[in-house]
Structure formats: structure tokens, C-alpha cells
Amino acid sequence: MLLIHCPYCEEDRSELEFRWAGEAHIARPDAISEISDEEFAEYFFLRNNEKGLTYERWRHMHGCGRFFNAARDTVSDRFLMTYKAGLPKQPIPVAEERAAAAEEKTVETWEATEGDAR
């Protein structure tokens, strides 16, 4: 199960709270009734389905309910970053920065946030 960082709640939460919502940064054509069948197929059906780095949308369904974007590696399933909806495609931080950011963050457990497991 994936551990996903919601950029609105600013918390790492279990995948069970989220719904995958497809490839990110696909803009709906402005005049959709005027585009050709090829353009509609491109917009509606054709996807990159990348092996490796992919940009995708998630929705924090059982949390804040908001959509956001994520950059993820589809081979390792590792999340490289998540960012708020509406922002342009974000550059991927280099490996050292990611490692430093990961060290700073404490892993959230029930014991740490809610109380004593006993």
C-alpha cells in the first residue's frame, strides 16, 4: 500500500484515503464541440502510460476531498513529489535534496500523534 503526501493536509496518509484520478496536466479543449474526432480521441482516450516518471492526479477522497498532482516512478511506485492542483508541471528535485527532505520528515505513527499504544 502506498503512503501518499497530501499537499493540502500536509500529511502522509495511507493509500486507502485516496483515489487515483488519471494522468495530470491534460487540458480540456476550450471549444470541445468544434475539435476533430482525432483531437477528441487524443484528449479523451490516448495516454502516455509512462514506464518511469509519470505525472498524475490523485484525490484525497476520505480526507480533504481535494484533487492534487503527483510525480511518481511507475517502476518502483516511489512518489517523487506531490503538489497542489493548478500549479504547472514541477521539476523533480534531485536525489540529494529528496534524501534530505525525507530525513527531516518524521514518520507519522498513531503512537506519535494520538497517544500511547498501550
Binding site: E15, R19, F40, N49, V75, D77
Partner: protein, 417 residues
């Protein structure tokens, strides 16, 4: 190729089994072939076999990145059935089922096709209406499918719990008696042996890294980890990696690659006589000839090439299995694995020509490609040999996503199937 028979076994028994030949040869690639098929799973190997046998094209190479039958062919739950709703689906799956019935004899290889019956459980009014619609459509089309009451379902599959107080009560079931299972590895091996015997080259551990195109856009061959190999016709049959391979030719396909998991239990004495599927609670179960319960789970929600999946997916399936078959509550699970399924928006496969001359595609079989192996391979060979789709596969074209003529089995089954 030496024919397998009871006499061959007797002869080899006399000489300590030292006379068995390798089942297929593993040659170095030639510089060019008439046809290259990318992906040595059941579909790709089968297509090579039918190209050689039915179309007389023997100068064929099947190129495989890993080992033959090591992808979804060796990772599925081996369910075979043809009780689909739409004509296009019934055509190809029924064509396949008919080929399954004679496949062991045709290949001289025991693929262990076992028509033990596939029973799909109905849990609510919607299921019942949907299944009866399928049954009527199937019977009008000449495909067997029948409705069972809960008591008849229980008689057909005794471990099933049909109590009204059950967590997932059953109000009936749809049964296709000709459905069943087969030995997945044997299908790949049988096709490989028969194809190799007809001169097809099976080149394993050879990754395709590019597709070379000519001045008019036509294919000229493939770049591989063993160098360039020429061909004027290329068939892509790469399952979960189809979009990666098609991208090499600059073709985008409407596919999402998702992990799909399966698992097997410790071996048990024969207890489970058929295949039971419950789409509503996501549980698929049968018993292999080794005695393991073979259980299929659902897909993960996100795109991935990781060949693994989330634990919550299989937990969900096992919850359902334990409710439907309380007798299995204390059975231990032995192995779990994932495969990468290539799913189309309408959950129906794509087989047809592409915008690139000489490039043919067979993909999008998603979570249900094993049952289609012989039929898909047979029709894919026809497509490659003649350059035009067979009548039975004409509706599965890539162009349907432009025209809107979808085959919406996703809506028909209300679930991945």
C-alpha cells in the same frame, strides 16, 4: 520434432530418459526475417505458430525481453470462458474456446484444458438482471450459458455457502459448462515447441529498444540488445508493455498498465470441482491439479509496471473468499504475485492495423487475456499475414477510439473482467 506419445514414454523409460530433445531451439538471430513478433507470451508464440502452420510464413522471429511465458502468461489464474455480452467479444472468445477444445491434440502437447465449468455468482437484483441478459445473448448466439438457482449452484459447487444469513448472500448463478481452466505454462511451451518445429526462431533475453522506420514511415526492423534485426512486418504483442513498445514507433495507444494480483494456497486434496467467480465482491477461485487453490484479486487503482500490488487488494479478496467458502477460513496462502495488465477504456482488446505501415498491434487484453490465447493468436496471425483483420476480430480495431464505436464490456460487466 519427435512426437510425444505413450510409445515415446515407454521407449525413453527403457533408456533412463536420455533421449528427450530440447522442446525448442534457441538460435542466434538472423539479420532479417519476414515477420518479427515482439513478446513471447502465449499470444505472440501462438501467432508465430499459426503464421507458420496456416499461412506458410516460417521466416518468423519471436523476440522476448525475458523468458518465454514469463509475463502474464505465467501469472494469470487460467480461467477460460466465452460468456461475454457483445457480438465482437463473443466472436473472438468463442473462437478461442473452440480452439482450446482441440489444442492439446493440435500441438501434441498436453495443455490440460479442463472444461470443469465456470460459475459466476449473482448477489443482488442488478447481478441477476445483468447475468440473465448475458445468458440470453449468449444462447441466441449459440454459446452455452445457463441460470442456476442457489440450490443448483450449491449442488454444482458443494463448498459454497448459500445461507440467507451469509455476509454475501447468493440469489443465483450463471454457469458456462464448457468454461474451465488450462495449464498456463504448457500453453506457452506447447506453442513454442510447435512453432520452433516449423522453423520459427524464438529469441529470448533480447530486449527491443527501438523500431526503425523507413522514408515513407514504414517499419524496417527493430533495434535490440542483440543488434538490429530487419523485418517488413512487425507484430506487437507485449501485454503490459505494449504502450512502451508502441511509443518506439511513435504510436500512442489508449492503455493503462495496472498491477493485477493472484495468489495460491497450500496444496489440498481435491475439494473444489469448478471455477467460481464473484465480480461483485471480487473473488475468483479454482483448484489447480497440484491441489493449490488459485485465487485472483482485483487491480490496483494506479498505473504501475512494478509487477506487485497493494496488500489491501488481496486482503479484500480473501475476505470475500472466506465469506463465500467458510470451509477455507483456515487454509494458508503460499505465494502471491502480480502481473501488469494493459487495460483499455472500454475493457475490450485492441487487435488491428496501426497508422504505421507494417506495424500490427495485439494488446489491451487487460485482466482476461489468457482465455483468448488461441483465438487471439490465430486471428493475429491472419492479420499479419494478410494485412487486414479477420472477420471475427474486425471490431477490435484501434480506430474505434476515434470513431466512438466502442465495445463496452466494462459497462456490461460493471467490473474489470
Amino acid at each position: 520434432m519427435r512426437k510425444y506419445s505413450v510409445f515415446a514414454i515407454a521407449r525413453e523409460a527403457m533408456r533412463a530418459h536420455k533421449g528427450w530433445d530440447a522442446q525448442w531451439i534457441s538460435p542466434e538471430p538472423r539479420s532479417a526475417y519476414d515477420v518479427i513478433i515482439i513478446g513471447a507470451g502465449g499470444h505472440g508464440l501462438g501467432a508465430a505458430y499459426y503464421l507458420a502452420k496456416q499461412h506458410g510464413i516460417t521466416n518468423v522471429a519471436v523476440i522476448e525481453r525475458g523468458w518465454l511465458g514469463g509475463g502474464n502468461t505465467g501469472r494469470n489464474t487460467t480461467i477460460i470462458r466465452s460468456n461475454y455480452l457483445y457480438d465482437e467479444s463473443m466472436d473472438i472468445y468463442e473462437h478461442s474456446l473452440k480452439l482450446w477444445e482441440g489444442l492439446s491434440q493440435e500441438l501434441n502437447y498436453n495443455v490440460m484444458y479442463s472444461p470443469r465449468g465456470v460459475m459466476m455468482l449473482s448477489h443482488n437484483t442488478h447481478d441477476q438482471q445483468s447475468f440473465k441478459r448475458h445468458i440470453h445473448a449468449n444462447r441466441l448466439y449459440g454459446i452455452d450459458n445457463e441460470w442456476l438457482t442457489p440450490e443448483q449452484a450449491k449442488a454444482f459447487c458443494p463448498p459454497l455457502d448459500i445461507a440467507k444469513t451469509a455476509r454475501y448472500p447468493i440469489n443465483g448463478a450463471a454457469l458456462q459448462r464448457r468454461g474451465g481452466t488450462a495449464r498456463h505454462d504448457a500453453v506457452a511451451w506447447g506453442y513454442a515447441r510447435a512453432a520452433s518445429d516449423r522453423g520459427v526462431h524464438i529469441i529470448q533475453n533480447c530486449e527491443v529498444t527501438g523500431i526503425r522506420r523507413g522514408p515513407n514511415g514504414e517499419v524496417q526492423g527493430v533495434e535490440t540488445s542483440k543488434g538490429f534485426i530487419g523485418a517488413r512486418k512487425i507484430g506487437v504483442s507485449a501485454a503490459g508493455h505494449s504502450s512502451v513498445v508502441m511509443q518506439m514507433a511513435g504510436v500512442r495507444v489508449p492503455l493503462a498498465s495496472n498491477p493485477l494480483q493472484a495468489l495460491v494456497s497450500e496444496p489440498l486434496k481435491p475439494i473444489f470441482p469448478c471455477v467460481v467467480m464473484s465480480n461483485t465482491v471480487h473473488a475468483y477461485i479454482s483448484q489447480s491439479d497440484k491441489g493449490e487453490l488459485v485465487i485472483g484479486a482485483g487491480t490496483d487503482q494506479y498505473n504501475s509496471y512494478s509487477q506487485t500490488g497493494g496488500l489491501q487488494i488481496i486482503t479484500h479478496t480473501l475476505d470475500a473468499i472466506c465469506e463465500l467458502f467458510p470451509i477455507f477460513r483456515r487454509v494458508k496462502m503460499m505465494r502471491q504475485w502480480g502481473g501488469i495488465t494493459d487495460n483499455t477504456p472500454d475493457r475490450s482488446p485492441i487487435q488491428g492495423v496501426t497508422p504505421v505501415p507494417g506495424l500490427f498491434v495485439n494488446c489491451g487484453w487487460g485482466t482476461g487475456g489468457f482465455k483468448a490465447t488461441p483465438g487471439s493468436a490465430n486471428l493475429f496471425a491472419h492479420l499479419i499475414a494478410t494485412g487486414a483483420p479477420h472477420r471475427l476480430a474486425a471490431g477490435l480495431n484501434l480506430d474505434r477510439f476515434r470513431t466512438g464505436r466502442l465495445i463496452d464490456e466494462a459497462a456490461a460487466a460493471a467490473v474489470a473482467h
